[in-house]
């Protein structure tokens, strides 16, 4: 296990050197979580598990984790045991490459793959309460763990696709993600501070949504916001962008469930 880890670390270090910073890319030491751009009150909502509304989802996810389901009559716990131990670090590595599908999958897709293939249960709908709760429960177990998505020959092409999407001008406003989130972070847009767009706390309780929501929901919001073509939930373009954003946030710690305006 340690040998595999060492190989990954070596690979990451090499690719870090190989991928020199693009124009405007935030230097790693200057990266800050969206948490830093929020008001004191909103931060207080996130800091305390007894007041964080996202914890309601984590609580529900814990219940679903133990519930037998599907024609296989199996619970997540039957294979994975106590999720609080077995799921530590998992969310920090997602999206991750799926060998069978030959492409990366995000955490929601991974959960649904388990449901359909191992539990013989129907996949949970995107942004459904149950899927958000299970994802929040799993991701919560990585709180404090540094983001570390695999960078290797298999994942590099997908990270590159996501990176290209991040720097590409698009939509009626002809804006690239990088123009707000690399070059104008910290400045204000219609009363709210522009964050650097690191997905450190997903699923996130967004005050605007009044509920938990996934990173893909947030990306679709952004695309609509810049009047660009959005993608369907689960689209490869969204997963590639997720993967790139997680790579861009490498080393930053998971905060799930985060609270954001």
């Amino acid at each position: 296990m340690s040998g595999h880890g060492a190989r990954l670390l070596g690979a990451s270090a090499l690719t870090l050197l190989a991928w020199t910073a693009s124009a405007g890319e935030i230097p790693p030491a200057e990266r800050r979580s969206g948490y830093d751009f929020m008001s004191r009150e909103t931060r207080a909502m996130q800091d305390d598990d007894t007041v964080n509304p996202g914890m309601l989802g984590v609580l529900e996810g814990g219940t679903l984790w133990a519930r037998k389901t599907g024609t296989a009559g199996r619970a997540c716990a039957d294979c994975h045991g106590d999720g609080r131990a077995s799921m530590k670090g998992v969310a920090a590595r997602y999206p991750a490459f799926d060998a069978a599908l030959k492409r990366p999958v995000n955490l929601e897709q991974r959960i649904n793959l388990c449901r359909t293939e191992r539990q013989q249960a129907p996949a949970l709908a995107h942004e459904s309460r149950e899927l958000l709760a299970l994802t929040a429960f799993v991701a919560r177990q990585s709180r404090g763990v540094p983001i570390d998505v695999a960078v290797d020959a298999r994942t590099k092409p997908f990270i590159d696709n996501g990176r290209a999407a991040f720097y590409r001008r698009q939509g009626q406003l002809n804006l690239a993600c990088s123009q707000c989130h690399d070059e104008n972070w910290g400045k204000r847009l219609a009363g709210n501070a522009i964050p650097q767009a690191h997905p450190t706390g997903y699923p996130v309780y967004r005050l605007e949504w009044q509920s938990l929501g996934s990173l893909q929901r947030r990306l679709r919001n952004c695309l609509v916001g810049i009047r660009a073509e959005s993608y369907e939930y689960g689209a490869p373009e969204l997963v590639e962008l997720e993967l790139f954003l997680m790579w861009r946030a490498r080393g930053m710690t998971i905060e799930t469930p985060a609270v954001r305006p």
Binding site: E41, A125, L189, G191, L207, V224
Partner: protein
């Protein structure tokens, strides 16, 4: 899952679709300061409402009107002879003026409650405290409400 569509998001999308460019925001029908006065009257009747004794804590600027933290308290020994009976919270520009009423007795120990409220727009929030001696006291606080920059469409 039904996707919520706020009026402002729907109208903004419609306006852009029509090529009007400008964002038309029509606020939902809302109460007026007069409606708030009426709502307060219903609680206090003909009694006088004096300023003071009530402490209302709200952030002066809220990042999102959907969830605004509020704490309200009244200094009181909370004994059977001298305690706070209730605290009522009102707004002047939400669709309806009543927000919440808290009811206490001596077993509360202290008259202090925190919650999260919705504010439809920048406005003043008023809290009215009712004491066991029948007197009414009030405090107000103004909140500026900003909206999220990238609104969601269905």
């Amino acid at each position: 899952m039904d996707r919520e569509t706020s009026r402002r998001a729907f109208l903004q999308a419609a306006a852009t679709g029509l090529g009007l460019g400008a964002v038309i925001t029509v606020a939902p029908a809302h109460a007026t300061p007069e409606a708030m006065e009426d709502a307060i009257r219903k609680i206090v009747g003909s009694s006088r409402v004096s300023k003071g004794r009530v402490k209302l804590e709200l952030p002066p600027l809220s990042e999102n009107g959907n969830t605004v933290p509020l704490t309200v308290s009244v200094e009181s020994p909370m004994t059977p002879a001298d305690h706070v009976r209730a605290i009522h919270v009102f707004t002047e520009l939400n669709p309806q003026p009543e927000v919440v009423s808290f009811r206490f007795g001596p077993r509360a120990g202290q008259a202090r409650v925190s919650t999260r409220i919705r504010l439809a727009t920048t406005q003043t929030v008023t809290a009215v405290g009712e004491l066991s001696d029948g007197s009414f006291w009030s405090a107000s606080a103004a909140v500026v409400v900003t909206l999220a920059a990238c609104l969601e469409d269905a």
